[in-house]
């Protein structure tokens, strides 16, 4: 390891003021602090500071690790759905993985290149350190989109989200809205044909000539996408080839859907990693689930053929679509979530409830988790404000009561 340290020290002068690679100072700085904990502390001399080794770069890397199970599963599932669509009866594990990997690789690369490119440029212009927020966003974005989203659309959407949801507000840590979800929202509203419907959620191309391309017009809707075509009290979802999707299938995740969101099992593994590392707030995750169950239960009680989604059992609501992914990885984003303890419960509960409300009662949008998180992102500061004010009022009243007794 000391070799790397020495090398970094050796090339450092090139990047400082007046060096020949001065224009890439922010890049160097970013890499150096990414690899090693910075030496500098906030007080240069005298005062004693105890620094935890955890800083935002390390936080981000743990989130990326927590996303890995979902990512690997997404690779397998993309291949699996493709093989299934091709009518295969056996599913060679490695070929499926390679197919999924080759499909998603260009998306991940585009998301990182565009996003980090913009971040580095802004950091250089503003003479700041590069901000590492995009480390997580860059992997989240391909995971919440269909696996075959066109690359240029992804690039446009990432650029839009990074500039307008993050950089104009001041960069990482200042954004009001979750950047990954803004990317998805942009795609969802700008290119609805590529983001919804029954043609986009199964990979049909042959990435880099690997595997075989399927005929155009192959279609299989996601379970939530099928709801609109159903009526009656018993809702049945079918996968490719007409096999019925059970609650267990929805939990394991071998169903059509966005790249990383289908497997509730892998999301749970990610949630355990995040909670064990102390990064995500269990309060938010729990209250999102509570909100979703509550609203799903209400919908079941007042189930009507007018809104077929109201027949879906509350537990299935949690397992289908992006609900679990949003609960674990989106709602818990520490920058955009509520910060007070009571606020977290309110924030999470409302996300869960609103997500199911949109799903059930707005037939135009089969999935509501994205919109629910974005909406509550906007309300998080207000929730915090109210909680803090209520706390202050309670304490003033207590003080008044005390002084009047004396």
């Amino acid at each position: 390891m000391s070799k790397l340290r020495n090398y970094l020290d050796k090339i450092k002068p090139n990047f400082e003021e007046g060096g020949k690679l001065q224009a890439f100072r922010s890049v160097y700085d970013g890499m150096e602090t990414f690899l090693y904990t910075p030496k500098t502390t906030s007080a240069p001399s005298g005062a004693v500071h105890i620094h935890d080794s955890i800083d935002s770069k390390r936080t981000m890397i743990i989130v990326v690790c927590a996303l890995l199970p979902c990512f690997l599963f997404g690779m397998y599932n993309t291949g699996y759905q493709h093989w299934l669509a091709a009518g295969a009866t056996e599913f060679p594990f490695w070929e499926l993985m390679i197919y999924g990997f080759l499909t998603i690789l260009p998306r991940v690369a585009v998301a990182y290149i565009v996003g980090l490119g913009i971040e580095f440029t802004f950091a250089q212009i503003k003479k700041e350190e590069i901000q590492e927020g995009f480390l997580v966003t860059g992997i989240l974005v391909p995971m919440i989109c269909p696996a075959e989203i066109p690359l240029w659309m992804l690039a446009v959407a990432v650029a839009f989200a990074v500039i307008f949801a993050k950089e104009v507000f001041g960069g990482t840590g200042y954004n009001v809205l979750n950047v990954a979800l803004v990317t998805r929202a942009f795609l969802f509203f700008a290119y609805p044909a590529q983001m919804s419907g029954d043609k986009v959620y199964v990979a049909t191309n042959a990435p880099f000539g690997y595997g075989e391309a399927l005929a155009d017009g192959f279609s299989c809707a996601t379970p939530l996408g099928q709801i609109a075509t159903q009526s009656g009290p018993s809702i049945e979802f079918t996968g490719i080839g007409g096999n019925i999707i059970s609650t267990w299938d929805a939990f394991i995740g071998l169903i059509p859907g966005s790249f990383g969101e289908t497997s509730t099992l892998c999301i749970l593994i990610g949630a355990i990693i995040l909670l064990a590392a102390g990064i995500a707030s269990w309060r938010i995750i729990l209250s999102v689930i509570a909100g979703g169950l509550f609203m799903g239960w209400i919908a079941n009680i007042f189930a009507t053929p007018l809104y077929p989604a109201s027949y879906v059992p509350a537990v299935d609501q949690l397992l289908l679509g992006g609900f679990a992914f949003a609960a674990v990885f989106m709602a818990t984003d520490p920058v955009t979530a509520a910060r007070t303890t009571t606020g977290k419960y309110i924030y999470g509960f409302l996300i869960g409830a609103i997500a199911i409300v949109i799903r059930t009662y707005n037939t135009g949008y089969p999935e509501g988790a994205m919109l629910a998180v974005l909406l509550m992102n906007c309300f998080a500061p207000l929730i915090d404000y109210c909680v803090v004010q209520a706390n202050m009022r309670r304490r003033t009243n207590r003080l008044k009561a005390k002084t009047s007794q004396q």
Binding site: P150, W152, M153, V156, F164, F186, F189, A190, Y191, Q194
Partner: protein
């Protein structure tokens, strides 16, 4: 103030939309296509210029207490005339603009100019001020309408601009451009560019 600056200032340094942030609602509402944006801009120029002149002519006889009502009556009269003219000579566009011609009466730019300028100045400068502000408003409308129609529909004034081979290669019109939120983002971009060129407009940190 010199007549020249009264006329030219609203184009950039004192633009009603991007500096005074007035009349934003109509910018969001009518700019999905370029043509209604231009017609709307022309209508506002006409209404603003003539209401400024009329108010300026009678400014000394209006009782202060009811001046807002008098201003509204003048504007409303002019808006009805413009609306009728459009329905007579440009029926399709007037249908596209629907209620927004009528809503010129609530456009903040009008009340702002009447209160701030016409009530205190002679008719000729008031006329110039009205036309200048109207043009300033129209400039922004046209820029926003240009980008929204080009990127959202691939056309300009109804003519196909984005070539067919683009669509065949996988290009898709941006549906978000048609929706009002994107108009707000575009106005924000114009303000961003404008302020980076006019440093004196930037707020002190």
């Amino acid at each position: 103030m010199a007549n020249k600056s009264v006329f030219f200032n609203p184009f950039s340094k004192d633009n009603p939309v991007i500096v005074q942030i007035l009349g934003i609602c109509s910018v969001l509402a009518v700019t999905a296509k370029l043509e209604p944006a231009i017609v709307m801009g022309l209508s506002v120029i006409a209404v603003l210029a003539f209401s400024n002149v009329i108010i300026s002519l009678i400014r000394n006889t209006i009782p202060t207490n009811i001046r807002i009502i008098v201003q509204l009556v003048v504007v409303a009269g002019l808006v009805v005339i413009v609306s009728q003219l459009l329905q007579a000579y440009a029926y399709d566009v007037s249908k596209q603009l629907s209620v927004f011609i009528g809503l010129i009466i609530t456009n903040c730019i009008l009340m702002g100019r009447l209160e701030a300028f016409a009530m205190a100045n002679r008719p000729w400068p008031s006329f110039l001020d009205g036309v200048g502000n109207g043009i300033g408003y129209t400039i922004i409308l046209v820029i926003v309408g240009f980008f929204r129609e080009l990127l959202g529909s691939g056309t300009l004034l109804g003519f196909q601009i984005v070539p067919q081979c683009f669509y065949e290669a996988g290009y898709v019109n941006n549906g978000l451009m048609i929706l009002p939120p994107m108009a707000l983002v575009l106005v924000a971009c114009i303000i961003w560019v404008h302020r980076s060129f006019n440093k004196d407009l930037q707020e002190k940190q």
